[in-house]
Amino acid sequence: MRLSVEVEHRLGEFALQAAFDAPSGVTALFGRSGSGKTTLVNVIGGLLRPGRGRVVVDGVVLLDTDDGTEIPCHRRRIGYVFQEARLFPHLTVRQNLLFGRFFAPRRERGPDLPGVVDLLGIGHLLARRPAGLSGGERQRVAIGRALLSKPRLLLMDEPLASLDAARKAEILPYLERLRDEAAVPIVYVSHAMAEVARLADTLVLLEAGRVIAAGPASDLVSRLDVARAEGDEASAVLEAEVIGHDAELGVTVLSSRAGELRIPSLNLPAGARSRVRIYARDVLLAVDPPGRISAMNVLPGTVSTIEELPDGSMMLQLDCGDARLLSRITRGSLRALGLRPGSPAYAVVKAAALADRLPAI
């Protein structure tokens, strides 16, 4: 699958001028509210005709304003999961799920009802009506409904935004299963870095209607402009693999591209893969290898960039191995250490700060 999008659209003061390409897997459109994310997916889904634009999925031109091609929304076969579930209130869950099935081409391959019901854990809801479901259940049904229409691409516009933290935690594992088990490529809109770090393979960063960065998620999450866009939540995400446990010390050891990481004990077998998120605010910097210190992770690296944040603190990017880490320190600390791009430095992270690691992928 390859998705290619080019859009120019004006809406009053707001001008959207964005273009990106996405390979298969999960592509996250990330940015603040008002950065043009929803406008962009509405153009892809055919709910909005842009001033100028071109949308190509797998070589099929869905929209090209230059030569007048425009496949209407209902013939695009693009599934759309909205922020609010938008289930049909007069139909049961089963009827909602099968709605798109009715219109999908018979010979096209796609998931079947039992498979989707099982994937999303909604078997006990089939006879109910949407009014009787919780927010999380509704959203799962909405995802199933979109999947069963055999889409060539699935758009998800902040599917978790209207849910509280507990409901988000309830749905995220299903989204991960969806990414890993259903063969449908996904464009995932979000302004929550936690979701993006957990789900995305490719990241497209939007700001004020423009793409300011695009690329593989694991690289981009730690890039400085990305960090700036999300302020205090700035972090690096490392792909890691469990290599062992030390029950006596109460730690699990993982290998990552930045070196070995020790984190509080995890109930995962050796060889399991996991993502570890390291917040910039949790990373101390040292010029010399620290001696006796409680922190269990000391990763040698080289300072690559230094930027001042709007609040006056400094964001340093550190190349450790072939991974990037972020560290946020005060201007005073920076001066005291005398760091500049190219300086060697040690990133120091408490194991406890990594307790908020991301579940297995």
């Binding site: 929304c73 209902h74 693009i78 009506r129």
Partner: protein, 231 residues
Amino acid sequence: MTDWLRPEEWTALRLSLLVSTTATAASLVPGLAVAYLLARGRFWGKALVDTLVHLPLILPPVVTGYLLLVWFGRRGPIGTFLADSFGIVLSFHWTGAALACAVMGFPLLVRAIRLSIEAVDIRLEQAAGTLGANRAWVFGLVTLPLILPGIIAGMILSFAKSMGEFGATITFVSNIPGETQTLPSAIYTFTQVPGGEAGAMRLTVVSVAVSMAALAASEFLARRVSRRLAA
């Protein structure tokens, strides 16, 4: 059972039910179309269409009846055309009474349906579109079921209006027993003759009963539909 109403009174009741049912049934599809157009359409002259639809509500019924007579009467332009081309005669005929009732009830029907269409969440229709339904399917599978309570309410209003319609009917098709003499016309006739009070009262009771039955039926249907939407 049939004793307590005289034969001509039964005739008036049957005629009233026939005229009202015909008027309501015949105006349903055009009413739905006009309501959809007014709720969703954006076109030049929309205000004019809106005004025309509502006119029978504001004009004196006698004026509406007279205009119908002028246009649909034997010598009227539309009446002549219908008679010559299809052999349909409306004036002084029960079908003319049905037309008068349909016209008088039309604004009520359109208004109820239009309000319910405006209350439909367009985002649900969008969602249906992304699932592969074209506009006709979206209307049939999403919009129509959601506006069913409004349609029922509109039909009941139109039916009730037809049962009580007097001014336009009597002006357009007169008051011919067995042909155009509906319940209100029959009651009016009773009040014009000495000793007619008993007959007028009997038909009044019948009128009240029919109206209440219609109202109860609409309540029942509306509740069933809304229970389906809520549960």
